[in-house]
């Protein structure tokens, strides 16, 4: 997945300005930047979940599997089943745990009861939730803790077998233990998926990112391997932000 010459305007405001990015496969790409820098808009542009935003216009390309996802012929629903997304706050539906896991995938195809059971088990194991909930799959999903709910949301996305998973600050409403659980899980998930991850927590980026993208004031200031960027950033702005979490752009 890659982005080229990409601009986003919301009404008059120029939110993203000439973005060039590449998201290497089977790696975690972390997007960091101060709040209001456009990092959320950026990640939300990658599966067109921003489409319903009032007054949104885009220019440029977002390529996925060699095709521009902003092309008119693209089936947005199909795109989103291949480029999954997890949000800041866990969004669970008023259904049971297992129904939540298959909620998306059963819209795509007819599933037998055995299929469903298999998908539920596989997906929950991938997010390390299976041992905690296998005895109460028919309980309401709202009985889970927030951290568990967020992992359930990730399991629900994995059930669709996407190629890319977008995570928009998925741990910002979680406690430290749940945060660690999700970080560990992401490190395992990158074997099978390409992960794009927005965070405002620089330490978290340091722990899990393979690649780092620093966004400030709607522009990509710097991107590259995380290990390099943390120790030898080319831009002084990046250095300032990574060290002090403050940046003047």
């Amino acid at each position: 997945m890659s982005v080229s010459d990409f601009h986003v305007w919301i009404k008059e405001a120029h939110i993203l300005n000439n973005i060039q990015l590449n998201f290497p496969e089977n790696q975690i790409t972390c997007i960091v930047g101060p709040s209001g820098s456009g990092k959320s808009t950026l990640i939300r542009s990658l599966n067109r979940i921003n489409d319903d935003v009032q007054g949104l216009t885009t220019k440029g390309k977002v390529l996925f599997d060699g095709q521009d996802i902003y092309n008119k012929s693209v089936d947005v629903a199909e795109l989103r089943s291949e480029v999954g997304m997890v949000f800041q706050k866990p969004c669970i539906f008023p259904k049971s745990i297992s129904e939540n896991v298959v909620f998306g995938v059963q819209q795509q195809k007819k599933l037998s009861k055995a299929d469903k059971e298999q998908i539920v088990e596989e997906s929950l194991k991938e997010v390390a939730l299976w041992d905690e909930v296998s005895m109460r799959l028919n309980d309401k999903a709202s009985t889970l803790s927030i951290g568990q709910q967020q992992r359930l949301c990730i399991a629900r996305t994995l059930a669709l077998k996407p190629k890319v998973i977008l995570l928009d600050e998925p741990t910002s409403s979680l406690d430290p233990v749940s945060t660690r659980a999700i970080e560990d899980m992401m490190l395992k998930l990158k074997e099978h998926y390409t992960l794009v991850f927005v965070t405002h927590n620089i330490q978290q980026a340091k722990r899990i990112a393979d690649n780092l993208v620093f966004v400030c004031d709607g522009k990509v200031i710097e991107q590259g391997q995380a290990s390099r960027m943390f120790y030898q950033p080319t831009s002084s702005k990046t250095a300032a932000y990574l060290n002090t979490e403050y940046c003047e752009c």
């Binding site: 629903a77 709202s142 629900r156």
Partner: protein, 282 residues
């Protein structure tokens, strides 16, 4: 000290306002129940009226009213739900939102007698349907549309955006989002609105008196284009025979039955609303 006194004064005002409302309601219900209950009997509820309503019962009036209001609900509900979904999910333009509000509140503000006159001119005269219960149901359906639209719209629109985005992110099309997420969570609000609308429709006299009802000589209609008897118009007709004590007695009885029917719809609406709150608080 003055602050304290104003506070007391205001509390006293609020309490007495509540007491006044409560007393009014109890008085009204008290009179209707007191006067009405002596007219109620098995025969009154289950036999047709005789001698222009002064004798006999109100079985066809009850059936007619229920037929009118159920049919109007069947006509109104899908249209209102569709309008509410359109307004909440498709109408993004701010100006058109305002226009739609003006239209809906405008329709809500039309006095009920105007609906009756409209039905008389448009259906009965121009389309030549004659006095027809089905036309009455259509007019009642139009009359209760805004109530259902607004209630359904509010409950659908108040579902947090995160649910829409969460479902879209799982590859749901817009229709799937509506069918699988918004309708299951918003339908209670729509049904609340429907019941409130039905409670209003069943008590209305003016919209149906010219176009849908007849006072005597009617039973269960065998086609769409026949008149029915209905409770509110029956009460009106009986009340006009104020010299006949039997007719007045039956008018009180019919009022009592009508109040019971209205309360059934209103209280069901209340229960559904309470249940919805407890679900969202969970």
């Amino acid at each position: 000290m003055t602050r304290h006194r104003y506070n007391l004064l205001f509390s006293a005002f609020a309490y007495s306002a509540v007491a006044f409302c409560g007393a009014l309601l109890i008085f009204l219900f008290g009179v209707i129940i007191w006067k009405g209950i002596s007219a109620i009997s098995f025969d009154f509820l289950f036999s047709p009226s005789r001698n222009f309503g002064a004798e006999g019962g109100i079985v066809y009036q009850i059936l007619g009213s229920i037929l009118l209001v159920l049919t109007s609900a069947l006509i109104s509900f899908p249209i209102a739900l569709g309008t509410a979904l359109f307004k909440s999910e498709y109408l993004t333009n701010h100006r058109w939102q305002k226009v739609s509000n003006i239209l809906i509140y405008g329709l809500n503000g039309v006095p009920s007698v105007i609906f009756g006159v409209f039905g008389l001119i448009f259906f009965v005269n121009i389309l030549g349907t004659g006095i027809s219960w089905f036309v009455g149901a259509i007019i009642l359906a139009i009359m209760i549309l805004p109530t259902i639209i607004l209630s359904a719209y509010q409950s659908i629109n108040s579902i947090p955006t995160i649910y829409r985005e969460g479902a879209q992110a799982l590859g749901f099309t817009k229709w799937q989002v509506i069918k699988k997420v918004l309708l299951p969570q918003g339908i209670n609000g729509a049904i609340t609105g429907l019941l409130i609308g039905m409670a209003r429709a069943i008590g209305e006299t003016a919209p149906i008196m010219f176009i849908a009802t007849a006072f005597s000589g009617v039973d269960v209609p065998s086609s769409l284009l026949e008149p029915v008897a209905a409770l509110p118009t029956h009460i009106l007709a009986l009340a006009q025979q104020a010299t006949n004590p039997n007719a007045l007695q039956n008018a009180w009885g019919a009022s009592f039955v009508l109040i019971l029917l209205v309360m059934t719809f209103s209280i069901s609406a209340l229960f559904i609303r309470i249940r919805r709150q407890t679900i969202s608080q969970r």
